[in-house]
């Protein structure tokens, strides 16, 4: 053969080798089931009821003690039962693993009575020891659980979790959790906390199978090894591509679970996600931590078919403009009030974000203790100008150029530019906007950063960990017990917040929190909340499901009707 032919052959062979060698490496890690792709626009393969969902980000972990973000918490919710559950429809806390619970007189001891008929998928019974094991594991510093701090209300949890191993030691048995008998768990708290019931629904302290963890270590959540007690079990995980969940037949309520298989595809691009939904390859789209881009939402609303399939509603998440209260000119409360009043919240929600609800207070309705009716500073251009003038800068004269810092992403950019335009228009001030990569951004706001390097304003938000104001005003803004990014000095608000944490009477708590919010966001204006996030979810008409404001979804309650 001629030399050029040899060359072409060599090229072709090499390319084929690359493609060929690559193929077997790409084999997914399978569990018990073999992979079966559902054909597009067909939901049921044979008689199996399958649903195809998507996630914009892969779960970082399936371990309840380690789960931190929305994308990991959702699968954990399906696979591991909690002591209690937040009902997707009513948002009430209802029994799950625990049938009932009691609090002692002094509020320091909580006793949970567990069901005795729940089994792990390998046949072992779920016992109180499993709960205790999990709580201990979450608190142990070696586990490095990012959510351990929500359990600090438990006696000695904080001290143990922050022990500097390996130099120092701790005694895990001093932790305030105990298995009284096979089906009774008792918690001893540091102080009375009526919000502990909310915490009991969280993923961080859900029972985990100790024997599996001891056998497989970090790999215990691999599809081949994992043992669950919830409605579903992961059977396959193709990194970066998809996860498959199959109904767990030993689930205590297995008879009520209709959907037998869930295909969760990893689709990072939201435009592509909607396109896949339109082509019939996905049954639900837009179910991420955020919402669909405003342009897509606008297009969907205008479309006859898609518009009918779009579901919108509130989320338990608020976005705000933070002020560095120790840095001039924002050390003047009038300036902060002016800036808060200059934000046209309606326009932000309608034109820039495309979803959500304008906000003037911090915790959204649905969170226990959130003020109702709403308090706080709303959009009022005249008032904003008056406040600024009163502060000494009539019509923006003499106001220095300040910086608003945010972390880089498409939505934040639009929000920042909108804010900049609004402040310019209403107050006639120049705000420079500055984007930073998220880790750099966070590092730059910490309390030990010198004041000169702090931006005057910055963007942050908060999403509920558990549906109680304690998680909001106390854990986010308390002057000494939280990160306190605004660098606020301690005032009556902080005292009241602390008081409310310890107060056993829920009605009194509600009162207190209303006061705290009024003080923090209407009087002191530590930050300027401006919208509560919303969800924009497309669901095919044959799927019946709930849309919880807070709390992860429960796939086992969904139905497919054809």
């Amino acid at each position: 053969m001629h030399r050029s032919s040899w060359m072409f052959l060599a090229l072709a062979v090499c390319l084929a080798l690359v493609a060929g060698c690559a193929a077997p490496v790409g084999a997914p890690t399978t569990g018990v089931e073999t992979e079966e792709t559902a054909a597009p626009a067909e939901v049921a393969t044979g008689d199996e009821v399958v649903i195809r969902l998507s996630t914009t980000s892969e779960p970082t972990t399936l371990d309840p003690n380690l789960a931190e973000d929305y994308y990991s918490i959702t699968p954990v919710e399906q696979m591991f039962l909690g002591l209690t559950n937040i009902n997707n429809e009513t948002a009430e806390i209802e029994p799950e693993l625990a049938e009932s619970w009691e609090t002692s007189e002094d509020g320091l001891t909580w006793t949970f009575n567990l069901r005795d008929d729940v089994l792990w998928s390998d046949g072992q019974p779920v016992t109180a020891q499993d709960v205790v094991y999990s709580v201990k594991r979450a608190i142990m510093p070696e586990t490095a659980s990012p959510y351990a701090y929500v359990l600090y209300i438990i006696k000695n949890a904080s001290a143990i979790n922050q022990t500097a191993v390996p130099t120092d030691t701790y005694a895990i048995d001093t932790l305030g959790v105990e298995a009284v008998d096979e089906h009774t768990v008792q918690f001893t708290l540091e102080a009375p906390a009526s919000y502990f019931l909310s915490i009991s629904s969280m993923w961080t302290l859900r029972p985990v199978p100790s024997w599996t963890i001891e056998e497989f270590g970090d790999a215990w959540t691999d599809p081949a090894n994992i043992v669950v007690n919830g409605a579903y079990k992961v059977t396959e995980w193709n990194p970066g591509e998809s996860l498959t969940f199959v109904k767990n037949d030993s689930y205590v309520n297995a008879a009520d679970v209709q959907i037998e298989r869930v295909e969760l595809a990893v689709i990072t691009d939201q435009n592509t996600e909607v396109a896949l939904y339109e082509s019939g390859e996905l049954d639900v789209a837009g179910e991420g931590a955020g919402s669909l881009p405003v342009e897509e939402v606008t297009r969907i609303r205008e479309d006859a078919t898609l518009g009918a399939e779009l579901h919108e509603g509130p989320r338990a998440s608020t976005t705000y403009v933070g002020f560095t209260m120790t840095k001039a000119p924002f050390d003047n409360v009038l300036v902060r009030k002016a800036f808060s009043a200059a934000i046209d919240r309606e326009t932000m929600v309608r034109d820039v974000v495309g979803s959500g609800v304008p906000a003037t207070q911090f915790a959204p309705p649905g969170i226990f203790g959130a003020p109702d009716p709403e308090i706080g500073i709303g959009f009022d251009a005249a008032q904003a100008q008056a406040w600024l003038a009163e502060a000494g800068y009539p019509d923006g004269a003499g106001f220095p150029t300040v910086t608003y810092r945010y972390f880089a992403n498409t939505l934040e950019e639009a929000l920042a530019q909108a804010l900049q335009a609004m402040w310019k228009e209403t107050l006639n001030v120049d705000v420079q906007i500055e984007a930073q990569e998220f880790p750099v951004f966070l590092a730059g706001l910490k309390n030990d950063v010198p004041l000169e390097q702090m931006p005057e304003m910055w963007r942050l938000g908060w999403g509920a960990d558990y549906p109680d104001e304690n998680n909001w005003v106390y854990e986010v803004f308390h002057c000494t017990d939280s990160s306190n990014y605004p660098r606020a000095t301690c005032t009556e608000a902080d005292e009241l917040a602390k008081q409310a944490a310890l107060e056993p009477d829920q009605a009194v708590r509600k009162e207190l929190y209303a006061q705290v919010e009024t003080l923090m966001f209407q009087e002191e204006v530590r930050v300027a909340p401006y919208y509560h996030r919303g969800y924009t979810i497309l669901t095919k008409p044959y799927v019946q499901r709930a849309y919880p404001t807070f709390a992860p979804v429960n796939w086992d309650t969904w139905r497919i009707e054809r």
């Binding site: 050029s4 193929a23 380690l66 191993v165 689709i267 990072t268 691009d269 896949l276 966070l442």
Partner: protein
């Protein structure tokens, strides 16, 4: 030949140290760490960093990492809590390689004929048209081309799947049909480069003296072109395979995002934003290794193409 291979492989060693050294130092110089979050208290973050050995002095961390790498262990991903980095990267690499191979095939299939045609009909309308079409490929950004293609062929006409990736085990047609649109999107730009390279080098060769001799001997034009001119003119294309492969691997980033393909591309950017040190190091090492391998391949191909080419 063996000497060539060994020399190339040995070359990987200094490359490895330089590349990983720079990356390691720069990554750790960036502010922020993998566990920073506005929810986790700073004390807890510090504890987590200590658990993963991130509070030790840099040289120590590097040596430990080096030790692990010699055992072919790249460490646990910090973003994906404990999963070994290889479990992500290698499947991702496999998919990216397949996508890249398809894109390259497309680029050659379009670019080579276009370049040849343009060279043979230099200055005439075929030349201009062929060049225009191929250059159009490199001018339309993937961000625009991709969605337009999937809207047209996926949603509107319904001929091809909109997005996602299929494995060969799912069947030949699903595999190919899922690969077509992303391969075209990725290969469009490459085809322009191939076309231009082919045209330029073929032109150069066509005016060489030995071609004139061949014509003078009375050989038919077609024979002259194919047997003599063409194979020599393909040397620059082979030379360019190296940078081409590199470009495909990085360029796949956007295409993989648009078509929801589980390739390696997204780890390039995400690992840096996540401060996932082991992942970044692994990506960098893998990439350098691929470049060295591709260069090796090019050297080997040279031996077949042209024995005149000395291996320095």
């Amino acid at each position: 030949m063996i000497r060539v291979i060994i020399r190339r492989l040995l070359w990987f060693i200094p490359v490895f140290f330089l590349v990983t050294g720079i990356t390691f130092v720069t990554m750790h110089a960036l502010p922020g760490g993998p566990f920073d979050s506005d929810k986790t208290p700073p004390a807890l973050v510090r504890q987590m960093e200590a658990t993963f050995g991130l509070r030790q002095p840099l040289y120590k961390q590097y040596t430990i990492w080096l030790g692990n790498v010699l055992q072919l262990k790249f460490g646990p991903s910090l973003a994906a809590r404990g999963k070994p980095v290889e479990s992500f990267l290698l499947p991702g690499l496999a998919v990216s390689a397949q996508l890249g191979a398809f894109a390259l095939l497309f680029a050659l299939a379009i670019g080579l004929p276009a370049g040849i045609l343009a060279a043979l009909k230099r200055g005439q309308w075929q030349d201009r048209l062929a060049m225009l079409i191929s250059i159009l490929g490199v001018s339309v950004p993937a961000i625009v081309l991709g969605p337009v293609l999937y809207w047209l062929f996926g949603l509107h006409l319904g001929w091809l799947p909109v997005a996602k990736w299929a494995d060969p085990s799912d069947g030949l047609w699903p595999y190919i049909s899922h690969a077509i649109l992303p391969a075209v999107t990725l290969g469009a730009g490459l085809s322009a480069i191939v076309a231009r390279l082919t045209r330029a080098s073929l032109l150069q060769v066509l005016y060489e003296d030995y071609i004139r001799t061949a014509r003078a001997k009375g050989l038919a034009e077609r024979v002259v072109t194919i047997r003599h001119a063409l194979r020599n003119s393909l040397i620059p294309v082979v030379t360019y395979l190296g940078p081409l492969a590199a470009g495909v691997l990085t360029g796949s980033l956007i295409v993989e995002q648009i078509f929801a393909i589980p390739g390696m591309g997204r780890y390039f950017v995400s690992s840096i934003s996540n401060r996932d040190y082991p992942m970044v190091m692994a990506v960098v090492v893998l990439y350098a290794f691929i470049i060295v391998m591709v260069n090796l391949l090019v050297d080997i191909l040279y031996v077949f193409i042209d024995p005149r080419i000395e291996n320095t």
